[in-house]
């Protein structure tokens, strides 16, 4: 097990290094002068020259890359060209908003997707299976940017039930400011007993979280269904039935526990992918998370930010993978012993 983890972490480092090389190369061959981004739109050639010198852009690219790696190992991701703030600080500012959204979304996805998949598996090839299949495939087929806009039209414009976007109402933010503990509004307001803000931030979370959850819901439902169908054909399920275990327990405890491996892998990967999935959703619901951060950076070719966030996303993705594999090993005693 330890060897397995060490091997995976080594692999992770390798992937990150590869990612560094690719993004760095891309950022350097992409047209657009970093110095111009740094100075804003009205810069004189001599100023540009000065900034190039300052940022080390005059050095050969491999050397620049070496410098970048050196700083990276010291935990320094550089500074944004646009705001001149350290990228690490920018990530710290933006990450909690994205993570909060992702946590809520993956919870929704699991809570809807898993039962849907289980029920569809139980009623294989019946009308309810077909309908749940239609629903699940539809969930995976929805363009998130379109769904987000539809939600805004229906729930904000027509029904007036939910806010159009943002994390917190301006007035609530002024009258009941949330104390900054973790940056997760739900958690912070709960911990400080700020019920108004808790309600308001939960309310603001609904539409973006459901939008973000849609793809994962469908995927988890499909995965759960196909795994459950296999599991339900297993002999031990017949055994359980033969000794009189109730159908509910067979489905949701004995069966699901066996189907949990693939389902958890799916959910974990969904979670990892959500970090890039938030991209459109944050854009449309003006959610001040990592997606917004990198969108702004991409628009300006703010390469330290792009690189920093991309690295973080890959790191996140690969480590979630790792965690999922470890978790599966914990849940399934068969894997554990191998």
């Amino acid at each position: 097990m330890a060897l397995f983890i060490i091997k995976r972490i080594g692999w992770l480092a390798f992937v990150l290094l590869g990612l560094c090389v690719i993004t760095f190369t891309l950022s350097r061959v992409v047209p657009g002068d970093p110095a111009a981004v740094y100075l804003g739109s009205r810069a004189k050639p001599e100023q540009l020259e000065a900034v190039r010198l300052k940022l080390g852009l005059d050095k050969p690219v491999p050397l620049q890359f070496a410098f970048y790696l050196r700083d990276l190992l010291h935990g320094d991701l550089g500074s944004s060209l646009r705001t001149h703030r350290p990228v690490l600080k920018g990530i710290r500012d933006h990450l909690p908003a994205s993570l909060e959204l992702m946590f809520v979304a993956i919870t929704i996805a699991v809570l809807i997707g898993v039962p849907l998949g289980v029920i569809a598996a139980k009623r294989e090839n019946t009308v309810s299976d077909h309908l749940s299949r239609l629903f699940a495939v539809a969930c995976t087929s929805l363009p998130s940017f379109w769904l987000a806009m539809l939600f805004q039209i229906v729930f904000f414009r027509w029904l007036g039930l939910f806010p159009i976007g943002g994390r917190l109402d301006t007035v609530v933010g002024l009258t009941n400011p949330i104390e900054h503990l973790t940056g997760f509004y739900l958690f912070d307001s709960l911990a400080t007993g700020n019920w108004t803000a808790l309600r308001d931030s939960a309310w603001h979370l609904c539409l973006p979280a459901v939008t973000l959850a849609s793809y994962s819901t469908g995927l988890i439902a499909r995965m759960t269904r196909s795994t459950m169908i296999e599991v339900l054909r297993e002999d031990y399920i017949t055994t359980a039935r033969a000794v009189g275990v109730s159908e509910k327990e067979i489905l949701f405890l004995q069966g699901l526990r066996n189907a949990l491996g693939p389902t958890m892998t799916t959910a974990g990967l969904c979670f990892a992918f959500m970090l890039t999935g938030t991209f459109f959703i944050e854009l449309i619901f003006f959610w001040p998370g990592l997606g917004t951060y990198i969108t702004n950076a991409i628009l300006l070719n703010d390469y330290p930010v792009i690189m920093g966030v991309t690295l973080l996303m890959a790191l996140f993705y690969v480590s979630v993978n790792l965690v999922v594999d470890i978790l599966i090993a914990l849940v399934d005693p068969r894997v554990r012993l191998k």
Binding site: V30, P31, G32, D33, A36, V37, L39, G40, S41, R42, A43, K44, P45, E46, Q47, A50, V51, S79, T83, H84, R85, G90, D93, H94, F156, R157, I164, G165, G166, R167, D169, T170, V171, G173, L174, I284, F286, P288, T292, Y293, N296, I298, L299, L300, N301
Partner: protein, 461 residues
């Protein structure tokens, strides 16, 4: 920025008796040769960090900006030396004659900062710190989300009367969302609503639109250094092919006016009598034939615009269509701004054939606009058209050194006539910069010299 910092003087909004009005300087005078400008400072002004306004502070603050060599600090380049004459008097000595009052009123590089903070590196200010003397200071800053400002208690104008204690600036890029927030009353002031809503904005019960000229204008620059646009007749044909009214309508919702020459309406140097191109396909085709392109241009002409600019994005298809009518095949290529700029600067051969550009002056003198965009340059930074005309260059340089307004105007007009005839650029439209507000919000002053600024101090409900 303009609410946290103040310059020595402000440019007055249009319609004022004076061209400038005092800010940190109570009064100022200029020497005969326009080389020495003396400013008498206001007494008892405090900075947010507790420092006081002195001549030394002004000197240091200008010197800091000049040394920083960042952003728009180049507009200070005419300064030869700054002298702190006494505690409340400061004199600027210039290398050459220049309208320094306009420079000192610039919204970009003429802010006065506290001496205590002058030594701080530029990054210090990026972290949400400030050291200005303006009425508001930052209370909290959430990147990409909101900035909360609170009033600066020791502001020199005092807080008698109706003012806001706190101002929340929500960072909302979406025009639709801004409109919704205004409708719902969760915002009092916005700077962008969808073009279609903007047209009918004043029909709303809750809200209204204020607008005025902004000194911003759009133009499409043609690369005059390489074929096909090295041909003057062809360039004129392009200028005749464009449906200006439709573009203004689609791009700005009609909020603006079709451009007359390069200098926007309302700015010093604007000449209403310049020749104005209008859409005239017959004439355009005639000119095409004259230019030797009887059968049109099949080889696609590359047109770039800044992908993040909604106006340029909206008019791009129209441009393609207009030019297709006279037989020019356009390939539209949106690029992020810095990439587009890079392409322009990559040399005439590699540069695009046409590029859209939104321009605004950093200080309100036409020289900057005309010099930056069309003065010959060894390595072009802003001369998108690769325009080269010594006569034009001579005229604007002369005009800049002419302190007397009428004489300068005449020279600028002459230069612009040359430019319009040569047609290196298509002057699309001047932007009217609207602000959108709740009706109950009062006291908004729109000043075209500061196109992106709302002055909060005067506002109240």
């Amino acid at each position: 920025m303009a609410n946290m910092y103040e310059p020595l003087i402000w440019v007055s909004p249009p319609g004022s008796a004076q061209q400038f009005e005092p800010a940190l300087a109570e009064k100022w005078e200029v020497s005969e040769d326009a080389l020495n400008w003396t400013f008498h400072l206001r007494k008892g002004v405090k900075f947010h960090d507790g420092g006081s306004l002195t001549a030394q502070a002004v000197k240091e603050s200008f010197e800091r900006t000049m040394n920083l060599k960042k952003g728009a600090s180049f507009i200070l380049s005419p300064i030869k030396a700054i002298h702190a004459v006494d505690e409340y008097t400061v004199r600027f000595e210039l290398k050459s004659a220049a309208p320094f009052d306009r420079i000192a009123a610039s919204a970009y590089a003429a802010w006065i900062i506290s001496p205590a903070s002058v030594g701080q590196p530029g990054e210090w200010f990026d972290g949400g710190q400030d050291a200005g003397s303006g009425p508001y200071m930052i209370e909290s800053y959430k990147p990409d989300e909101e900035i909360i400002f609170k009033k600066f208690d020791a502001y020199w104008k005092g807080w008698d009367g109706d003012h806001f204690d706190r101002i929340v600036v929500k960072i909302v890029k979406e025009a639709t969302v801004q409109e919704q927030m205004l409708d719902a009353g969760t915002a009092d002031l916005g700077n962008r609503v969808p073009i279609e809503s903007s047209r009918t904005f004043n029909e709303k019960e809750c809200c209204e639109r204020l607008s005025g000229p902004s000194f911003m204008n759009y133009a499409i620059h043609l690369n005059t250094a390489i074929p096909p646009f090295d041909n003057k007749a062809l360039r004129q044909a392009v200028s005749y092919a464009i449906d200006y009214e439709a573009m203004l309508d689609i791009g700005l919702g009609g909020l603006g006016r079709v451009g007359v020459g390069p200098v926007p309406f309302g700015q010093f140097g604007h000449d209403e009598n310049l020749h104005q191109y209008k859409q005239d396909p017959a004439k355009a085709k005639e000119l095409m034939a004259q230019a030797g392109f009887k059968d049109g241009i099949k080889e696609p002409v590359i047109f770039t615009y800044a992908a993040e600019n909604a106006v340029e994005k909206a008019i791009a298809p129209l441009l393609k269509e207009n030019l297709a009518e006279i037989g020019i095949n356009v390939e539209i290529r949106p690029m992020i701004w810095s990439a587009q700029w890079d392409m322009v600067k990559s040399g005439p051969e590699k540069a695009q054939h046409m590029a859209a550009l939104l321009w605004w002056p950093t200080f309100s003198d036409p020289y900057e606009t005309l010099y930056s965009l069309w003065h010959v340059e060894e390595k072009p930074a802003w001369n998108f058209a690769y325009y080269k005309n010594p006569e034009f260059d001579k005229l604007i340089t002369k005009a800049y050194a002419t302190p007397e307004a009428a004489a300068a105007q005449a020279l600028y007009s002459k230069a612009q006539q040359i430019l319009v005839a040569d047609a290196p650029s298509v002057f699309l439209f001047d932007v009217e910069r609207p602000v959108y507000k709740r009706k109950e919000l009062q006291g908004i002053v729109i000043n075209p010299a500061y196109p992106r600024v709302a002055f909060w101090y005067g506002m109240h409900k």
